[in-house]
Symmetry: D2
Subunit: 281 residues, 4 copies
Amino acid sequence: ITHWVLTLVCADGPGIVHAISGAVVAAGGNITESQQFSSADTGRFFMRLQVETTTGREEFESALRPVTERYDMTWQLDVVGRPLRTLVLASTAAHCLNDLLFRQRAGQLPVEIPLVLSNHGTLRDLAGFYGVPFESIPVTDAASKALFEERVVQAVEEHTIELVVLARYMQILSPELCERLSGRAINIHHSFLPGFKGANPYKQAHARGVKLIGATAHFVTSDLDEGPIIEQNVVRVDHSRSASELVAIGQDEESRTLTQAVKWFAEDRVLLDGARTIIFR
Amino acid sequence: ITHWVLTLVCADGPGIVHAISGAVVAAGGNITESQQFSSADTGRFFMRLQVETTTGREEFESALRPVTERYDMTWQLDVVGRPLRTLVLASTAAHCLNDLLFRQRAGQLPVEIPLVLSNHGTLRDLAGFYGVPFESIPVTDAASKALFEERVVQAVEEHTIELVVLARYMQILSPELCERLSGRAINIHHSFLPGFKGANPYKQAHARGVKLIGATAHFVTSDLDEGPIIEQNVVRVDHSRSASELVAIGQDEESRTLTQAVKWFAEDRVLLDGARTIIFR
Amino acid sequence: ITHWVLTLVCADGPGIVHAISGAVVAAGGNITESQQFSSADTGRFFMRLQVETTTGREEFESALRPVTERYDMTWQLDVVGRPLRTLVLASTAAHCLNDLLFRQRAGQLPVEIPLVLSNHGTLRDLAGFYGVPFESIPVTDAASKALFEERVVQAVEEHTIELVVLARYMQILSPELCERLSGRAINIHHSFLPGFKGANPYKQAHARGVKLIGATAHFVTSDLDEGPIIEQNVVRVDHSRSASELVAIGQDEESRTLTQAVKWFAEDRVLLDGARTIIFR
Amino acid sequence: ITHWVLTLVCADGPGIVHAISGAVVAAGGNITESQQFSSADTGRFFMRLQVETTTGREEFESALRPVTERYDMTWQLDVVGRPLRTLVLASTAAHCLNDLLFRQRAGQLPVEIPLVLSNHGTLRDLAGFYGVPFESIPVTDAASKALFEERVVQAVEEHTIELVVLARYMQILSPELCERLSGRAINIHHSFLPGFKGANPYKQAHARGVKLIGATAHFVTSDLDEGPIIEQNVVRVDHSRSASELVAIGQDEESRTLTQAVKWFAEDRVLLDGARTIIFR
């Protein structure tokens, strides 16, 4: 028996659920989880199903095809729990990478990480402890940046990467790379976003005496820090916290927010509806 | 066009979604919201649909009947947003009643309240301000308690009451009345439940120096404070709070937790799965 | 016996606590609560004391004066629990005003409200239920706006107002009025601030698919929505919430955030440190 | 210049703050942080000061002694940021140990860990990665349990241990060891405490359909899971989570709650007031 996860998106209209559930029945499947959403904003219909069948992939796809074609669906069929091939980019901060690797090993995060790529060597030992290959390419100017990004593109192909995670990777990706990775690269942004933009947001937050600080995980787009939001968390702070304490507090939020976003993405729970995400938790 | 809400429960198995969605199609309906859950604990299948049709109730029910009968479903068809006929029981504390009445008037809570019944006269003016009839029957002994409960039963019939809300009603209901109101009476319990039981939980919580206090809204059962949980909230406190400050803080959690539970129930979002609730938010 | 609250601010340096506590001892006082903070940003020292004495105000002030003069302190001596004379400005939205009035009556908010002033008549009955005088002055153009603000200034003097609360008052105050009320006017801002600015932030928040929405209570300054932050709260939302549902959810955060800020201010727990607030909870 | 942290506890009464601040002035000290609390429950006065002086320890203690003797104070003078010598007990679950070690190395947790002691070998590599000595002693019967506890006692003396952390150590300590470690051993308890007791609380929580699960860090006492509470956290869950998912979610709360409690203890922010803790955050 196989446990499938099926996601699909199409223009909204009557009869879709009936048609899809009919195809599932035809394939001898039993729906174990089902979520759907009709977007009033874009008129799109979104669905995520988990289905148990004894049917093979080909047969299941044949049963689905008449429906997916009739409704002109964008769809994807995957096996529940299959580890997503994930490339992690990092710089020197360890907290996000540590959380990803620890949870991956603990069996809480369905990803496999064939490579960590960094513009510094700082995190080599951490990756090594978890048995994950690590490469560092210094980024100091336009040429070395181009070199780094070439290696990203190459690694994505070499390892058939499905998701690129920027785990506090402190370089801005070129518009070309953003475009190429569109919808499959996740960034974590310290502070609260939208909110303080530009350099040193914790210092700005401290100066304004904010009472809440947090983190936002979002898809990478060429419009810096403006991609569709996947997850946000905040935590309460008070006037007695220095800017550097805010950083430490914020890092906890960054780790758990990024890991949560990666987990949902790896479980096919994140769908795009224009500038918004649909999260089927 | 009518916007229906359909809830149904049956033994889990393949084909249910297809059958139900087929009946919806047959009735010319369009599914606008759909949630389902298969309980691994009890083997039950739960579904909540919102459906837009131009069909009348009779015709819609005819389309559904073959499916509901085949799968031996418990089901209910209602109109989205129809105010639920709600009886509120209260004593002297105003915070829960005030929140219910304010939100009802503000259009945030789809209930109508034909009567507030209390064992004290304290809240008469508050009910009056919102134009809600108010009766008080003192409860001082077994006889007067029986009288009060008789009035509850009578009011439930007289006003075709669908939900009884114990908004800090400080008397224990008799097992007979609990039984009679089973699945349609909601209580709010201060403190954290399960947790400190019996008298003065805030004092107990203070003495133990708890760092979180909260409230639980649950269905009324004859087993005191042990009914299926609908909603819980907590808030952080510290050592500097006196027991009476904990009470004030806790009351905020009580109000918002009870109102939330009533809102979900009124929107047909609360289903029972043995000792647990399924909440289709 | 009197329970005093003493707040003081001065340039930081050694010996201040010893000097102040000496003055308290000299006045026969017993410190029941004490909080202090040294701002690394501004070099200011902040202190809030609660002191029990049998001494009268004059005698207590005499004991304090040598110290407050030596350290060039800004200070204030008040009686714990004295209701703060508070003017509320409102428009048509009831949620904030209702929360303030309900808690004031419930004894949870140490304010007295001699007047609610509105640019609409909508909330007259609500104020009336709580026995609070209500006046409405339509604001439709520059002239009527000037009239409204004149009435504010007049009411502040007439009732010796200590705090002006903008409880969803939907007009922008003139820079002159902001200046005049500086440090004693609190506004509540929907959405998350800093964050989406300008018109219809909930719609913007919806379009970006934010996962958290909230409210910020801040001092009124002429720089719109940029005054020192007193309190912030957020609540989790998901893609299924419409913009209007976000508004309803946000209103809950607005009410509780504003009431909390007013409570702290009325208890002399809010001190200004440049663009930041020190909150002695 | 040295940055001291001074904590003291005595019977409450007038003049204490003045006397202590006088001693600080006499020692040429400048108070940089100060918190105090008078317990209405026990009549005890609690204070935590951070003081900068150029004075040595002996001289500072001499300045304090007249005051600490006059008021019969329990007191402690330490250097801010000095790493606390900490022994960690663990079993097989890695999440708490990982979080402690990662944050210790990241400079966020002022402890030094000379030894991890476990009844299993599972976590040897994790400790090794962080360069922390690891010993395992199987506990299978009364005799081996006695052996394990003897090693604990010995290690406490050998390494002058100041804090013992039970990082999901799954054995119950003997009453004798609890007694011996009283006030310097911290345990983390899954689930919500007080709440479900005994075996498999997550399963119980699942069966009751709780909407919040969490963790409590508390001092170890011989009364199992009933020691003074240091910190608590909760997170929201819903009906769709299986018992094993609740475990994973709960582990996150366990890690962060335990680490927070250890941090506060290591910073001398946790004082005991009968069955309660005073936390000077």
